[in-house]
């Protein structure tokens, strides 16, 4: 396994940990406050929908896109996702946005679940089913997208899927063992790290995909894949400078965000 594959699998693994943790909080709130059968049914329905989405996305990407167009489109999308994650991380670390807190989200979801009307269909509580379905599907789509795009572009789909499955097993095992939101997982720091990786791989692939606009010679990064190390360092430096510049003199930011 080379360095690029290790970085790719790590990015997929940590992105999946973050998304699965968020989905688990929603399903746990529905199971505890409403009905476990309905929450689990919603989760299974979302997993089936995600499997269909993965098959369609994978087939569409491999059938219709040339290698350079694939890099251009996927790189651009990863760049957009990565910069969205980094933007939030910078705003949180500089005290301009509240920290993501699974305990708060669990409390809010539980409160809404207790207040919602109870409508059932064949023994399934529709509110718990729909909220669980939506939570798992929306968080899962992002994981699927990262897995499929990273896997196909770096030609390591099996490794990327393995990283996501490992993350899923860890989150579900921890969740069932603790039976409470996984607020100990340092989500804000993980999101920051994953944002750096997405932005770096996105920059690398999007610009390499510019080969689509010319046929005669290929556009390649100096040092080839070693350039990724430079991109990671550069995005890290830029975000630290942004955080330092935006942080008020007496910042309320927590220690997690400043790591």
């Amino acid at each position: 396994m080379d360095g690029t594959t290790v970085a790719l699998v790590s990015a997929v693994f940590f992105a999946s940990i973050v998304e699965f943790t968020e989905a688990f909080t929603i399903v746990l709130a529905m199971g505890v406050t409403r009905n476990w059968k309905s929450a689990i049914a919603g989760t299974i329905a979302a997993l089936v929908a995600l499997a269909a989405f993965t098959a369609v996305l994978g087939a569409a990407i491999t059938t219709w896109l040339s290698e350079s167009l694939l890099e251009l489109i996927i790189g651009t999308l990863l760049l957009v996702f990565g910069l969205q994650w980094l933007r939030k991380a910078c705003l949180r670390a500089s005290g301009h946005k509240g920290m993501h807190d699974e305990d708060d989200i669990y409390a809010e979801q539980s409160r809404e679940a207790l207040e919602a009307e109870r409508t059932t269909y064949r023994g399934i509580d529709l509110f718990a089913f729909m909220v669980s379905f939506k939570g798992v599907f929306l968080e899962g789509v992002e994981v699927v997208f990262i897995v499929v795009t990273f896997g196909l572009t770096a030609d390591s789909l099996a490794m990327a899927i393995g990283g996501a499955i490992a993350a899923g097993i860890i989150v579900i095992s921890l969740g069932f063992a603790l039976r409470k939101p996984l607020s100990q997982i340092p989500e804000n720091t993980l999101k920051y790290g994953v944002g750096i990786m997405l932005a770096s791989f996105g920059t690398y692939w999007a610009f390499e995909g510019m080969n689509y606009f010319r046929d005669d010679e290929s556009l390649s990064w100096p040092g080839d894949k070693l350039a990724l190390i430079g991109l990671v360092a550069a995005w890290f430096a830029v975000t630290r400078l942004v955080i330092a510049a935006l942080r008020p003199s007496a910042s309320p930011a927590s220690t997690e965000a400043t790591v």
Partner: protein, 72 residues
């Protein structure tokens, strides 16, 4: 109609997210760099470094604008 609206909303949230500026400047930079590459205006390394630097500057400016809004 409701389904179409929800479908459109989902994809907007997924692709554009909380801050439309990011998608706008990323696409803008890609178009400009695509034109530079297509017309061979600069060397490869200069094009890559220019594109990366412009993205980083726009990111920093975009976050600073959002931070100022939250203060105001």
């Amino acid at each position: 109609m409701n389904f179409l609206k929800a479908f459109g909303h989902f994809w907007y949230d997924f692709l554009i997210g909380d801050d439309w500026k990011i998608a706008a400047y990323v696409v803008g930079v890609m178009v400009v760099i695509g034109l530079l590459v297509g017309h061979s205006v600069l060397g490869d390394t200069a094009t890559l470094l220019l594109g990366t630097a412009v993205l980083m500057i726009l990111f920093a400016v975009g976050v600073a604008v959002d931070a100022r809004k939250t203060r105001g």
